[in-house]
């Protein structure tokens, strides 16, 4: 196990930079999530770390050593792929054993480690099956066992849950996280799903356009976004952002409340006209516009369902709403975060 450090990694395909100067430090044992929209360069960055792509410039350090020119097998990192990349013609046992065989590990040692890894992931009963005979969740465990069997320096995961159905995904999320904590392996996890990122990451690096927009704990990312991109990329529905005083202000839908729900705290008031609402059981999402701002811009508010009866939300009526100043985010005209006061 080892820390993974990158210094100003740039990767160009032709003239187009896919990764445009990423410097990131992932300490030993940390669960780091790379979060970004598709095409933001996060997968390319992961492939550079494991050695499947070579960076155009910049340094990569694993365990304190520069590994820029080392082939993948010498780096000792393991990677789990989006569609798992299991070898269809091998049994589960041989799939797991493959990384050991390439290293010339003795047969007895291989048997022992395969046993260990399969016990760890609870797939001991599947060892003689072939990948096509497994369910999605089982395949994922096999892929994880194969990644871990040689006790890698770091574990890289590329959207590992995207092939699972929604129900399985929730349990797999928990499992991977618990598993990572138990083994304590340095993990870099790529996803475009903010729920995975928020739920699993010790820290999150939000990436867009080949650059890191912000690195921080899930709380920091959510409550204290560094710029408009991070603010709107994380959170469902996204943060409302409106132009004000030559810059922008932003507030999350759950902080945009009817005025009577704010108990005397310092707040900023707006007139809000409700256009339509969605009742989602645990909450009610209300869409509308604010007086004095662009009438075409849709503003969302997330309210507790009990608070407002259906008749309260009559289209076209104006209601007094407010946001506590403590949770109001201010951005300058370039969209960068201005310090809160």
């Amino acid at each position: 196990m080892a820390a993974v450090i990158t210094r100003d990694i740039i990767k160009k395909f032709g003239e187009v930079p896919a990764v445009n100067g990423i410097s990131l430090t992932v300490p030993n044992g940390e669960f780091m999530v790379l979060l970004g929209p598709s095409g933001c360069g996060k997968t390319t960055f992961l492939r550079i770390i494991c050695g499947l792509e070579k960076q155009t410039s910049g340094d990569l350090l694993i365990g304190g050593d520069i590994v820029n020119d080392m082939p993948p097998r010498a780096r000792g990192v393991a990677m789990m792929f989006q569609s798992y990349g299991l070898y269809p013609h091998f049994t589960v046992r041989n799939n797991i054993a493959f990384p050991l065989k390439t290293q010339g590990v003795s047969r007895a040692e291989i048997d022992k480690k395969v046993e260990w890894a399969s016990q760890l992931l609870g797939i001991g009963h599947l060892l003689d099956r072939r990948p096509r005979q497994l369910s999605g969740g089982e395949r994922q465990r096999v892929a994880l066992a194969r990644a871990l069997v040689r006790e890698p320096t770091a574990l890289l995961l590329d959207e590992p849950l995207s092939n699972l159905d929604a129900k399985l995904r929730a349990s797999a999320r928990l499992e991977i996280k618990q598993f990572q904590q138990r083994v304590g392996i340095t993990t870099i996890y790529v996803t475009h799903d903010q729920v995975e990122a928020m739920g699993m990451g010790d820290r999150i690096a939000v990436i867009d356009g080949g650059r890191v927009r912000q690195v921080g704990t899930p709380t920091e990312i959510y409550d204290d976004p560094a710029d408009r991109f991070v603010a709107t990329f994380v959170g469902t529905p996204p943060m409302n952002i409106v132009a004000m005083n030559g810059g922008y202000i932003g507030f999350r839908p759950e902080n945009f409340l009817p005025k009577d729900m704010i108990n005397g705290e310092a707040s900023t008031e707006f007139k809000f006209r409700v256009d339509r609402s969605e009742y989602l059981g645990s909450e009610r999402i209300v869409y509308g516009a604010m007086e004095g701002f662009d009438p075409k811009q849709v503003i969302t508010a997330k309210l507790p369902p009990a608070h407002v009866a259906d008749e309260w939300i009559r289209p076209g009526e104006w209601h007094p709403f407010a946001v506590r100043n403590s949770v109001l985010c201010q951005f300058d005209k370039d969209g960068k975060r201005a310090r809160r006061h």
Binding site: R47, C50, G51, L52, P72, R73, V77, A78, M79, F81, Q82, S83, Y84, G85, L86, Y87, P88, H89, F98, P99, T102, Q103, R130, R132, R146
Partner: protein, 309 residues
């Protein structure tokens, strides 16, 4: 308001939608193919079977039944046994060479490089050129006096002018020559088969193998080749069937010579049955292909089913 019909309108005739029925349309569409096979493959095949147990020649077109006498006669003929052996050598040799060349060709074409399209067109060329034309060119390259190959070898100092090999005159070299030409013709097909197989392998699997520490050889022979084995086997079936029954290269290059050294079943059957007019023996010779091909095809199909992933 959008108007919504109250009921489905009645068709004018009950045959109006007959082509919408899967069974009717289906039979209609496959009928030409089935007719074609029955008339142009089935009937001649049955005729060949009958000829082979008759005394039919073009000089005596009686349909007299003689049982297996024709087969007994050709099996006792050492020239035929030579032909049978030749056919196996010719098939095995050119398929092996073709597969090796095909694998290399596919590896070359897999990675993008400047001029790849041009090289790809070049590699496919042997397949596209009419075999009669190509063989004439090869005949010149192997010619006893004007051989380009010999000329090159002499110019490079590998051999002396006095030892220049007579490619098509020496029995062993003649067999080698027709094998090389047939492999040259077959290998673009192998390239296409390999390329199709390799590009069908998910990139994740290849990447996983790389990260798992597999180098070039291990990746090729433990991951790629086993994964494309089924499609390789299909290609091989085609290759074996076409080569085993082929007579064009031998006919055009050596006429089975020297002294029968390159005679193969298809050629011998043609010579005996058509050129010499001994139709019954020609048919018997040709039918020797059938059991061999049957065994090959059954074996391969079983193999593919077992390996299916």
């Amino acid at each position: 308001m959008v108007a919504i019909a109250d009921s489905v309108p009645k068709p004018a005739s009950r045959f109006r939608f007959i082509l919408d029925r899967r069974d009717v349309l289906g039979s209609l569409m496959v009928a030409p193919a089935i007719l074609y096979v029955l008339l142009l493959v089935g009937v001649p095949f049955l005729m060949a079977v009958y000829y082979s147990v008759s005394a039919y020649t073009i000089y005596d077109p009686s349909w007299r039944f003689v049982g297996l006498a024709n087969f007994e006669q050709i099996i006792e003929n050492p020239v035929f046994l030579q032909t049978l052996t030749n056919t196996f050598i010719f098939t095995f040799g050119s398929q092996t060479l073709g597969l090796v060349l095909g694998k290399f060709g596919a590896l070359v074409l897999l990675r993008p490089f400047p001029g790849r399209k041009f090289v790809r067109a070049l590699i496919i060329l042997p397949w596209a050129v009419p075999i009669a034309l190509a063989t004439v060119a090869w005949q010149w390259m192997f010619d006893s006096l004007y051989s380009v190959i010999n000329w090159t070898l002499i110019a490079l100092g590998f051999i002396d002018r006095s030892q220049a090999p007579n490619w098509l005159g020496n029995p062993d070299l003649a067999m080698l020559s027709v094998i090389v030409v047939n492999a040259w013709r077959f290998f673009p097909f192998a390239v296409v088969i390999f390329l199709a197989g390799i590009t069908a392998i998910p990139q994740d699997v290849l990447d996983a193998a790389t990260v798992d520490g597999a180098g070039f050889w291990r990746r090729n022979y433990q991951i790629i080749v086993p994964m494309i084995l089924p499609i390789m086997a299909i290609g091989l079936i085609f290759g074996i069937v076409f080569t085993f029954t082929d007579l064009s290269i031998v006919f055009l290059m050596t006429m089975g010579g020297p002294v029968g050294a390159t005679s193969v079943l298809g050629f011998a059957g043609f010579q005996t049955g058509i050129v010499s007019g001994d139709v019954s023996h020609g048919a018997a010779i040709s039918l020797f292909m059938l059991p061999v091909l049957l065994v090959v095809v059954i074996f391969m199909l079983r193999f593919i089913r077992r390996r299916e992933i």
